[in-house]
């Protein structure tokens, strides 16, 4: 196994607030790495620093061995880092198919000229990518929604479409921000199944932020626990569950 993503001593401050305080972790190939922690612990901020929407003041982030600090978000995406968002960030007026095709953007070449003229190569590229998108639609079992503008879809389906859009990018690593938040039991189980399928069949490494402890303990290879921007534990689900600091943070110190 080799290391795919390395986060080294990053610190991110917003004015007086330290959202991330000297946090380090690394994600291996094929690994499903989970990040848990109470609200405001800095989990989403970690994702935002990896996709370079936020620039941490200190530390380094390396992807496949080279630093991505200061890289534009769209270049980070091109390198193979895809993500979903805690509050769904689909393109609401576009259909499911168009949302997923937008995920294919970085894997396509067509310019405004070739597009406007709809000539051979541009047309062929659209068709080929359309086929890839249809594969993902099959994989996520959202066939029946393909042509709907996503704004009209139920919440659980939107979450799935967002996962599909990230998958369409052909990523090497997927960052999932609370993929089952707000879902009922059945939807949660579906989503867990898709995440495991992605791991087994597509062999994509994943970092998952999640509040659902049951889910995390069931499917994650390793877990990192954050509290107030600091890493308080990192290990296998079993190790983390027994860690007194974690029990204190989650249940209050009297249980420690």
């Amino acid at each position: 196994m080799s290391t795919l993503l390395e986060v080294e001593n990053i610190t991110l401050r917003f004015g007086g607030v330290t959202a991330i305080n000297d946090v380090s972790f690394s994600v291996e190939d094929h690994e499903l790495f989970a990040i848990i922690g109470p609200n405001g612990a800095g989990k989403t901020s970690i994702f935002n620093t990896i996709s370079q929407v936020y620039r941490p003041q200190e530390g380094d982030i390396r992807f496949e061995g080279s630093s991505i600090m200061g890289t534009r978000p769209d270049h980070v995406a091109e390198m193979g880092i895809a993500r979903t968002f805690q509050n769904i960030e689909l393109f609401p007026q576009m259909t499911v198919i168009d949302n997923l095709l937008t995920g294919r953007h970085i894997r396509m070449k067509g310019s405004v000229f070739s597009g406007a003229l709809w000539w051979g190569k541009a047309k062929r590229e659209e068709m080929e990518n359309r086929r890839k998108v249809e594969d993902i639609i099959d994989f996520l079992e959202i066939e029946q929604w393909r042509k709907y503008p996503v704004a009209l879809l139920p919440y659980g389906i939107q979450k799935r479409v967002e996962l599909g859009r990230a998958l369409a990018m052909d990523p090497k690593i997927l960052l999932l921000d609370e993929p089952v938040a707000g879902m009922n039991l059945e939807e949660t189980e579906d989503m867990a199944r898709f995440i495991l399928d992605i791991k087994r069949e597509l062999d994509i490494a994943m970092v998952m932020v999640e509040h659902d402890m049951g889910l995390v303990m069931d499917i994650a290879d390793r877990v990192m626990v954050l509290d107030f921007g600091q890493r308080i534990a990192l290990g296998t689900p079993d190790e983390v569950q027994k860690n007194p600091d974690v029990i204190a943070a989650y249940l209050g110190s009297e249980f420690a």
Binding site: S51, V53, R72, P73, D74, V76, A77, E78, A82, R83, F85, E89, L90, F91, P92, Q93, M94, D98, L101, T102, G103, H105, I106, M108, G110, S111, V112, S114, G115, A116, L117, W118, A122, E125, E126, M127, R130, R131, E134, R165, M169
Partner: protein, 435 residues
């Protein structure tokens, strides 16, 4: 949703612009009708000969609405509208698809008009002109406007919303000012009279007699035609080409990137869409459309001063998008025809009413009430072109109508005419179960 599902057997079939048989038939019919428009179709263009129709008071004398066929003033209005479609499709790419509100569209039309005049116009002592053929000056006008668009975009792509609107508004004033400088007059001619623009004739190079003459009357395929009729046909063809471009841009990679930036700019970047690059592409493409339209418009009008490319023209384009339905190609086309033809309709209608005010019967009484003619009565609409504040003349009335329509559409139908059309279509799809 409410019809038998169409079975698509390939993505090729599914990504067609006109996927169903019905749509293909309608499109072909519309195109045929468009190209027939300049020719006299007797049943529709004049007073009808059918006795049954003659007995109906309004239709018998020929409705103003149907007068546009044949070589009439309406043919020119239609050509105007089709040129405006090209320009509006450009603004739709920038404002409708990419969400960047620009009040500078008139400026880019102007840049196109004077680039076209510089390349294709005839030089005099006071203005530049290189007399190049249309296959150079028309695309050249687009390229010139696109280049100017690229020059301003380093500032423009970093702004959004109100700030962008104000900066682009500045362009319009800058443009009119530049047209007034000594330097600008070499391009734009005299500030009050303007300059002459190149004609729409097909030439290989600068030879005297064109290969195909469009701006001179003559016969095409054995049919005698006026220059109006010829220009109409040419402009219609150009419009169809630009509709083709606009539809394709919308459904391919660039179009999706622009809409992604409009809807969620940060998510778009995280998906790999280079925000500044695509805003620049939107600016350049939109300016290209505007430039071609501007040159065509100037050529069509013949002679106009630079001050015509003013804020009111820019606002007219915004009105087109709002009334038609921003973001959709079909809506932009509908909006253009609506906004350009409406004033002419209103004018024709009030002329038509005033002709009948003297007579008897219901039409005459209606026009008594609505119109205020020379007799000095109190109708709200005046038939004179110059009036004090009240009663309104037809020009004022048109301005008021725009304002009211924009407000009505913003409040009741944000999807514009396109939205209304979708509703009507769905109504008939479900008919007779229309509830």
């Amino acid at each position: 949703m409410f019809r038998r599902p169409n079975l698509y057997t390939s993505y090729q079939a599914e990504t067609q612009v006109l996927p169903t048989f019905t749509k293909k038939v309608i499109a072909i019919f519309a195109i045929v009708a468009l190209f027939l428009m300049p020719f006299d179709v007797p049943i529709i263009s004049g007073p009808t000969e059918l006795p049954i129709l003659r007995s109906i008071p309004l239709i018998g004398d020929g409705l103003p609405f149907f007068r546009f066929l044949g070589d009439a003033a309406w043919l020119r209005y239609m050509s105007d509208a089709m040129i405006v479609v090209v320009a509006a499709l450009g603004l739709n790419i920038l404002t409708g698809m990419a969400g960047q509100v620009s009040l500078g569209h008139a400026f880019f039309l102007g840049v196109g008009a004077y680039t076209g005049a510089f390349l294709g116009g005839h030089a005099t002592d006071s203005v530049y002109g290189h007399g190049l053929p249309m296959w150079i000056w028309l695309p050249g006008a687009g390229v010139g406007a696109a280049l100017v668009g690229i020059i301003v975009s380093p500032v423009a792509v970093r702004l959004r919303g109100l700030y962008l609107a104000i900066v682009t508004l500045g362009l319009v004033f800058l443009g009119i000012h530049m047209g007034n400088t000594d330097w600008g007059r070499k391009f734009a001619g005299d500030p009050s009279l303007g300059r002459s623009f190149p004609e729409m004739d097909l030439r290989v190079w600068k030879e005297e007699t064109p290969l195909v003459s469009i701006s001179e009357k003559g016969s095409w395929f054995g049919v005698e035609m006026s220059s109006n009729q010829k220009e109409f046909l040419f402009v219609a063809a150009v419009m169809l080409v630009f509709i083709f471009f606009a539809v394709n841009i919308k459904r391919t990679r660039t179009g999706r990137a622009l809409q992604a930036i409009r809807d969620r700019d940060i998510a778009a970047e995280v998906m790999g869409v280079a925000e500044f690059k695509y805003k620049l592409v939107a600016f350049a493409t939109s300016s290209f459309f505007a430039g071609v339209a501007g040159a065509l418009y100037a050529s069509h009008i013949g002679k106009m001063p630079a001050a015509q490319f003013n804020l009111i023209l820019s606002i007219e384009f915004i009105a087109i998008l709002l009334i038609g339905g921003a973001g959709t190609v079909a809506g932009t086309i509908m909006g253009s025809f609506f906004v350009i033809l409406l004033p002419e309709l209103v004018k024709d209608f009030s002329d038509w009413l005033s002709e009948r005010a003297e007579g008897e019967g219901i039409v005459a009484s209606v026009s008594e009430v609505i119109l205020s003619g020379n007799q000095g009565d109190f109708g709200p609409i005046s038939t004179a072109t110059q009036t004090p504040n009240y009663p309104l003349n037809v020009f004022d009335l048109n301005l008021v109508l725009y304002g009211v329509l924009i407000i009505v559409f913003l409040i009741f139908e944000p999807l514009g005419l396109y939205g209304i059309w979708i509703k009507v279509r769905n109504y008939w799809k479900r008919w007779p179960f229309s509830y």
